[in-house]
Amino acid sequence: MTINTLSQDGVQRQQMPCLTKMERMIISMQDPDMGIKLRNQRLLITVIPHAMTGLDIVEWLIKKCSISDEEALHVGQLFVKYGYIYPLKEPRNLILKADDSSYRFQTPYYWMSTRWPASELDYAIYLAKKNIRKQGELIEYEKECYNALHKRINHTWDFVVMQAREQLRASKQRRKGDRIVLECQEQAYWLVNRPPPGTQDSIDHGPERRTTNTRVQLNAEFYKKEIEHNRISLARNRVKSSICLESYVKYCEQYQPHDPIMQGCLPSNPWITDDIMFWNMNSETVALPTKLRVERWSFSFMELLNDQMGRKEFLTYLEKEFSAENLCFWQACEDVRHGETAKIPEKVDEVYKQFLAPGASRWVNIDSKTMEKTLEGLKRPHRFVLDDAQMHIYFLMKKDSYPRYLKSELYKNLLARAIVPQETKKSVFPFMRRQRHSSPSPALATQTAEDDGKAKYSNSNSGTASRL
């Protein structure tokens, strides 16, 4: 994120949107009719005008945004952190308290959007003023900053001291109340922009975006491409919103029982009860799958294929139908598409020999046009050369074999036998927490043969959950 600032080349960068929003709200808060009621606040022996309590702020936010106390306090806290509101009693503590502690609005002069980044010169003057006013009033970290600045901008130090003295003289001529207010405002500004070590730096924003060194060239070519893209987009076929949006309602409804966060999961959510039964029961190699899992295969062909167990079941079915080569072909094409570039020619060759060549052992039935195009492409094999053929076989399975599989005895049988786990409740007694078992790392698959002797499974009782 970048904030409103003039960079080296004088180019105005983008205003940070959150600052604009905060300022808008701050202005609302100060509205004479709808804003917070300000009153005078006594600070020791002086009266500070236009102050409010922390509770005022929180209550105003609750009403304005229709939020809870907790959220209102949180939002109010951000205004204090970013220096739009500052505390009067404990100025060093940039915290919002929802009680009768006093706060004031920072003057726009010191807003983050008008005065950022804080200049070194200004900081030096500020510290110099503090130093002059009362010798040794500078806190440790301020002393360090002061000395560092003195070294760094030594050439302008006379100017710094001169400015400091001038500002101190001017402030002496003000009324005590005004003077204190101005000092508070200035102090608040520096607490935000030069936070003491150990406190959170609100203005820390991460690495610079839109840096000048490698900017995208917004040249004629760029715009020509954009124009072309927009022209094509204009001619695009669109679907009515009512149809599209209805599909989300259906999708959410269909998947809700499968969404552990929405509806829980049986036997229990491992993260909540520390019981990993749910993962064990849904693993790839489990003997009997759960009912929900088998049901999910009927939602779409992709769901069936994405589940290794579903894929295996489907393959078994296809074998009975003597069309297993379709799924094998599809898998082989996936391997080409997502595999190592260097291995593509040899993989494509394998696929040709096994599935496409006349008289191949597992010949797949593709329409002649696609076959012709594919065979032509094989002369110069590349990653996507089998795409058309793969798509053809995919849709063949999807439209034909898949629906029949769902109606088959194989599927219905499995669905009938599938498990509905019993719910295990979280232990009533908090100290009877289940032991959290480790599981073998998937990285173990990379262990070489030499390592076999040393291969260990770290305290793995991953097959069972123990009860205390």
Partner: protein
């Protein structure tokens, strides 16, 4: 008379803007109903209780990115000080740690096999580290440099296998790389500024991905041809995060303009905005629950907001992190989600 180069550029820019306006008008024509209207008949969600179930402590600095392993319990996370850690989030044990030679490791990803992780950041590269279980092995020694950009790496993601990686960068481009050879297979140009995020489509044909950037644009790309297939420009600020709706027919984006938005790919338009007056700071990271009913957003004001995707309302606000939430991902089986923050911790919520 020779045409002034500056005139031509200005003319082109105007032409492009005019077309964009026309495009938005066309898109509006088929918009006959709002999502929340269609969702009126859907049951409202009840009280939502999600708590922190695990806190992963170990990073000495801001956590910037995280990714789940397909085993549903392991996580890789990266931080500002260059550390990349692999955790078994269930036991909270750290299993691997790598120190990158650069700071601000903004991108990390777990390989589908679970045997490697990819990461990168201010080094402008994406490197792949195979995960070894030998405690004495120096993971950094086996590191493979895969991607090279001319500016910071903002996001990376393996495609359906360990062999290909998709990257996005501050140099305004995305690219697809072959891991073994480090060769660039395809590059994607079209963003006018830094690309900050990307997500792979869960579609049947598995050929597209979406990216979002500092130009306030989100683009859908064809991985085969490198062409931008669709683009949307309704956000008012940088897009920090994009995530596909589980069906692949839509995607959500989170932006510095403090809103999350839903874009439908068939209707070819924005169909929902998730915003609230009290949410002032940008959304850094978004993800859907398994059914797509809930959208989780991690924000720069340290909170996580939970949105009802269909009704457009905010269901819950989660407090706990003590600094910006920078990354958020739902686990592969939807049992929990993990949030990473500038407060140096990761939290598992369920």
């Amino acid at each position: 008379m020779a045409a002034q180069p500056s005139d031509t550029l200005a003319t082109l820019k105007t032409e492009s803007e005019t077309l964009k306006t026309k495009l938005e008008e066309e898109r509006a024509k088929l918009h006959d109903v709002e999502l929340h209207q269609v969702a009126e008949k859907t049951e409202a969600l009840g009280q939502f209780v999600m708590k922190t179930r695990r806190t992963l402590k170990g990073h000495g600095n801001k956590v910037l990115c995280l990714d789940w392993c397909k085993d549903k319990r392991r996580i890789v996370s990266s931080s500002q000080d260059g550390k990349v850690i692999v955790w078994d989030a269930f036991t909270t044990n750290k299993e691997h740690a790598v120190t990158m030679p650069c700071t601000w490791v903004m991108a990390c990803a777990y390989a589908p096999s679970g045997c490697a992780v990819a990461c990168g950041g201010l080094d402008n590269k994406c490197s792949v580290y195979p995960l070894s279980l030998d405690k004495n092995e120096n993971l950094a020694a086996k590191k493979k440099s895969v991607a090279m950009h001319t500016n910071y790496l903002s996001a990376c993601c393996f495609t359906n296998s360990d062999m290909q990686i998709l990257t996005s960068s501050g140099d305004g481009t995305c690219a697809l790389w072959d891991v073994e050879s480090g060769q660039m297979l395809q590059s994607f140009h079209g963003h006018a500024a830094d690309v900050l995020c990307l997500d792979l489509a869960p579609s049947e044909t598995g050929n597209t991905f979406v990216s979002g950037g500092c130009d306030k644009k989100s683009c859908v790309w064809d991985m085969r041809t490198g062409q931008c297939v669709q683009s949307f420009e309704t956000h008012e600020s940088d897009i920090n995060s994009v995530r596909y709706y589980p069906s692949g027919d839509a995607f959500a984006s989170g932006s510095d303009d403090a809103t999350c938005r839903l874009y439908d790919l068939r209707a070819d338009r924005e169909v929902a905005i998730y915003s609230k007056e009290s949410i002032i700071f940008g959304a850094s990271s978004v993800d859907f629950s398994l059914s797509g009913r809930l959208l989780f957003g991690g924000y720069n004001d340290y909170t996580i907001n939970v949105w009802d995707v269909l009704k457009g309302t905010r269901v819950s606000i989660l407090f706990g992190h003590e600094n910006r939430v920078s990354t958020l991902r739902v686990s592969p089986d939807g049992t929990a989600f993990c949030s990473g923050s500038w407060d140096h911790t990761l939290r598992i919520w369920a």
